[in-house]
Symmetry: C2
Subunit: 189 residues, 2 copies
Amino acid sequence: MAKMGLDRHTLLVAAAELADASGLDSLTLAALAQKLNVRSPSLYNHVNGLPDLRAALTVYCLHLLVEKTRDAVIGKSGDDAILSLCDAYLQFARSRPGLYEAFYKVNTQEHEDLEAVKAELLNLFLRILEPYGLGEKETLHAIRGLRSFLHGFATLEQHGGFQMDLQVDESLHYVLKTFLKGMHAESTS
Amino acid sequence: MAKMGLDRHTLLVAAAELADASGLDSLTLAALAQKLNVRSPSLYNHVNGLPDLRAALTVYCLHLLVEKTRDAVIGKSGDDAILSLCDAYLQFARSRPGLYEAFYKVNTQEHEDLEAVKAELLNLFLRILEPYGLGEKETLHAIRGLRSFLHGFATLEQHGGFQMDLQVDESLHYVLKTFLKGMHAESTS
DNA sequence: GTATTATAACTAATGATATTAGTTAAAGCA
DNA sequence: TGCTTTAACTAATATCATTAGTTATAATAC
């Protein structure tokens, strides 16, 4: 009965890999246990059942997403920063499809960490939209718009929603530029 | 052993109700059978297992969505039509939360019906964007943008993604108007 | 260094689920 | 009325998640 030295973070990393490989839905404790060379009840020493594991994946996903997007806007501002953030967002969703599925699952557990990382993401958007000089409300509306668009785009793309023969990245940039054009018109009117 | 007169459509309707009541994830054949006063193996006479049922729900969801949105744009054109379509889209997502979860599940089955209803939705968008005089490519980009935004907005709203103290419908309209403003600028430049 | 304690692994067992195979009786049709 | 189809059934299996109770290893106290 060797001690495998597992801990919560090791579980998360392995679980995310499983999700990426075959979808979040088919992430089971049985499969995770097998991957880690352990019997499934042993996982309960580190994780409070499957719902807890999935909630933890949501937080883990948000952590990585914040990391990537924050990196992407360093040294940029204005439209450049927004475009760069959005590109990074979608690259992340594409590179971690199973983990990204956990993005909105948001079950109750892990409340402190979840709120913290959500606030980080919000702040990133707030700072990027600062130079546009929108009012407070308008800024929040715009953030909701960008978040919705990015999440919808990532989800639809991942599930084969864009089947027309048309570059996906072109669509991304067309939409963002159109939205930004509208925002510029807004701030000057 | 009374024959219950079940058929595929009855199953779909009942399954969608269960999904709305407690989430698509907790839609089980066991629960569905219980709701229909039948043992779960009996369901296999009408449905090819759980994956098939979920795929059928996707098609059913798209059917209803097309119905609602098509209704919403009758007698309208231009920005009015778009705003009305978007309102109807979100109202549908809100009124059928569990069914809407099936929106993008899109497992392989039911191919003919699925493609047909997806084409209907695409055509609805195409006709509404006609008057804007965008090029063919730009129109498709714009459709991807609207679909992504609507899907992301509906999903985030449903999963508690908008927690700031700010009217959700205001955000919806702000974003749409901003995007339309950008589109108008586009077509005149 | 030894004894104690905490804990990370284990086995065994339960209950829910999906699914398949094979059976029966009701409904539709010749 | 008899035949056929089929929609229900029962029985059985396999996969899961989860809980309870056990054991041996690692960490700590003395």
